[in-house]
């Protein structure tokens, strides 16, 4: 088993896959650990928000629509920086900050001119465009993750209505809640499964950058995105007696199942970082499930006990299968 690029190249030459005499990969391809990517991504995000504030104070736009040209210019500048110099870490970070600022400006403009569902849908289109055009791995990955979040919010707002964070005591039926959940997450589960199964095919094409970012972004969203798309109405501060039945409160429990699936997918692509993210996501979803109003703790308890039983039975069956 080979463990680095040089020895793998040698092994591929020995097998006749590569022609004799091909050179090793450049050193710049050395693996960047996830935590350095996370540090760069978070710093880029924060820098982007401050760039947007700087631009907003500098140009003092008086209406949301005036953010559109600002956003487009910032995104164009980011694209140019990425495209011109792909080796400079400074320009990469500057481009990421400008890109985040530009996208935030466009979302701000959309928010002022359409409904919450419309804003989420426009954000989805914007993120998909960023995934397709941005010539940078981290920018594509962030776009893929937020495209999934925007997709989830679009469906949720369209099906169950937008609600204020602490405001309306919304009642959502079990059927609506489950239907919305399946519509949101089933396509993402299928997409993740499809991308993993066809991995060796798309790695051999020029779409590998988009596909890899999409796969990682989808798995990250399956692990934690329910926190970004949480059923706000279930957090209503209405007294218990006035609390209406809101089955959106089931979403965090279903999110645990998604996190377990994400963990399994991450294992299949040997990504320990995504496994860790999915473990953290599953634990957070359980605590989220505890605090959400909308259904009783007794029902939640029964659901957790049932899920635990199913999982333990599954482990016994798998073990039996392994012995046979």
């Amino acid at each position: 088993v080979s463990h680095d690029g040089e020895s793998l190249t040698r092994a591929l030459i020995e097998r006749g896959v590569l022609a004799d005499g091909v050179g090793p990969m450049p050193a710049s391809h050395t693996q960047r650990p996830w935590f350095i990517g996370a540090l760069l991504g978070m710093a880029g995000w924060l820098a982007g928000l401050f760039v947007l504030l700087f631009v907003a104070i500098l140009f003092k736009p008086t209406s949301p629509l005036q953010f559109v040209p600002i956003g487009l210019v910032l995104i164009a500048a980011a694209f140019a920086l990425y495209a011109i110099d792909k080796e400079s870490a400074f320009f990469d970070q500057l481009a990421l900050a400008l890109s985040i600022a530009g996208q935030s400006a466009l979302i701000w403009a959309a928010e002022g001119n359409t409904t919450d569902g419309g804003t989420a849908a426009l954000t989805l289109v914007l993120q998909l465009a960023m995934l397709a055009i941005m010539p940078n791995r981290l920018a594509k990955l962030i776009a893929a993750f937020f495209a999934c979040v925007a997709w989830a919010l679009t469906i949720r707002f369209t099906m169950t209505g937008a609600d204020e964070l602490w405001g309306r005591n919304q009642a959502v039926s079990l059927a609506s809640s489950l239907t919305a959940w399946f519509i949101v997450w089933t396509p993402l589960v299928i997409a993740a499964e499809g991308l993993i199964r066809t991995e060796t095919q798309w790695v051999a094409t020029r779409f590998r950058g988009i596909a890899r970012a999409a796969l990682t972004g989808i798995l990250a969203s399956l692990a934690i995105a329910t926190w970004f798309t949480e059923p706000f109405a279930s957090l209503s501060l209405a007294p218990p007696g006035e609390q209406r039945s809101n089955w959106l409160a089931l979403w965090p429990l279903l999110a645990v199942v998604l996190a377990l699936f994400a963990m399994f997918c991450a294992f299949r692509i040997r990504s320990s970082a995504l496994i860790g993210l999915a473990i953290a996501g599953a634990l957070l979803h359980v605590s989220h499930f505890y605090y959400l109003l909308g259904t009783t703790l007794l029902i939640k308890s029964c659901l957790l006990l049932a899920m635990g039983s199913v999982l333990l039975i599954a482990s016994v069956q798998l073990r039996k299968g392994a012995r046979q």
Binding site: L18, Q93, L297, S315
Partner: protein, 330 residues
């Protein structure tokens, strides 16, 4: 090799589908059927046990009136007794013993919560978690399992966070640490040192026969939590003018941070803790800029520039450490 390197290799050599499959086979990029099954068995076991434990906690917290207090105590005690019984029958490090002890640890916390709720002991919330960590320690020790230690570390840190930020009056820690006389920044030294202590212990145990339990992720978790507490202390010191006479505490944080950083750089093994220290320094620097500026263009420009420049420089430096330390690794 990870997927990024494999993608780069495929792009560099313009590999075909068959070539990529050959490369994936050579580096064992995809788990086989037996490995997948073993992973699924472990995943469903741990998730099932944790789900079951959470279900019991939720059930007790539901305070179901048709299920009296006596019955609730009986339920938890039965769960605890069965778990301990299973752990004695199939002792750790056997899987059954480990899982049973993890359930016993969860049940201990639920039992303490029910006790406090029923008898209104007047204990602060942090004391519940502290007591849970203390009483659960033998179970975690017996489990010889990093997952159980991770759960214990989580409980301990919840207790320390509640003690520092909720500022309770009373309890062991309150008597032990200044009886309310200490500033928040000074109090935050306790969880910082406790977590650095846990990290140091893991580092030490990794050189002994206990390295199977003292896994790298456990040490990393303790280190990151310690750094988060230290960062919050500096942020509070910067923004809260009410914190007086804290120079000694800030000096202590700096001394600890310097010693830890010096150790990390001399050990030349794991870059993640170095990245955590750098992330902390970037955040503290941004807080200083924000505190000394006003909400105008120059401050926002300076903050944006600060994040871009510091992350660029530190990203490059960390990558150089990754390359160098990887080459030196045995």
């Amino acid at each position: 090799m990870d997927r990024r390197e494999l993608d780069a290799l495929a792009a560099h050599h313009n590999l075909s589908h068959d070539d990529v499959q050959a490369a994936y086979g050579l580096v064992d990029a995809r788990p086989g059927a037996a490995e997948t099954r073993a992973f699924l068995i472990q995943l469903s076991r741990i998730a099932g046990v944790l789900s079951f434990g959470a279900g019991i906690v939720f059930f007790v917290a539901a305070n179901w009136q048709d299920f009296g207090v006596f019955s609730r105590f009986a339920l938890l005690e039965v769960v605890l007794a069965i778990s301990v019984g299973l752990a004695i029958w199939q002792p750790a490090p056997l899987v059954m013993g480990r899982l049973a002890l993890l359930v016993a640890f969860v049940a201990t916390g639920a039992l303490l919560a029910l006790f406090g709720q029923t008898y209104q002991t007047g204990a602060d919330l942090y004391e519940l978690f502290l007591m849970w960590a203390a009483l659960g320690l033998p179970l975690v020790l017996a489990s010889q399992w990093s997952v159980a230690w991770g759960a214990w570390l989580l409980v301990l840190n919840i207790s320390l966070s509640l003690f520092c930020f909720a500022r309770p009056v009373g309890g062991w820690f309150w008597f032990a640490f200044g009886r309310g006389q200490l500033q928040l920044v000074e109090l935050l030294l306790i969880p910082t040192l406790a977590n650095f202590g846990c990290w140091a212990l893991v580092e030490f145990l990794r050189k002994t026969r206990w390295r199977q339990i003292a896994t790298a992720w456990l040490g990393r978790l303790a280190f990151v939590v310690a750094t988060a507490f230290a960062t919050s202390a500096f942020m509070i010191a910067i923004f809260d003018d009410g914190q007086q006479g804290i120079r000694m505490a800030l000096g202590a944080f700096l001394v600890v941070g310097t010693l830890v950083s010096a150790y990390l750089l001399s050990r030349r093994r794991d870059v993640l803790p170095v990245a955590a220290v750098i992330a902390s320094a970037i955040v503290i620097g941004a807080c200083l800029i924000g505190d000394n500026g006003t909400a105008d263009t120059s401050t926002f420009f300076a903050l944006a520039l600060w994040f871009i420049v510091t992350s660029t420089v530190s990203g490059r430096w960390l990558m150089s450490l990754v390359r160098a330390w990887r080459q030196e690794a045995p």
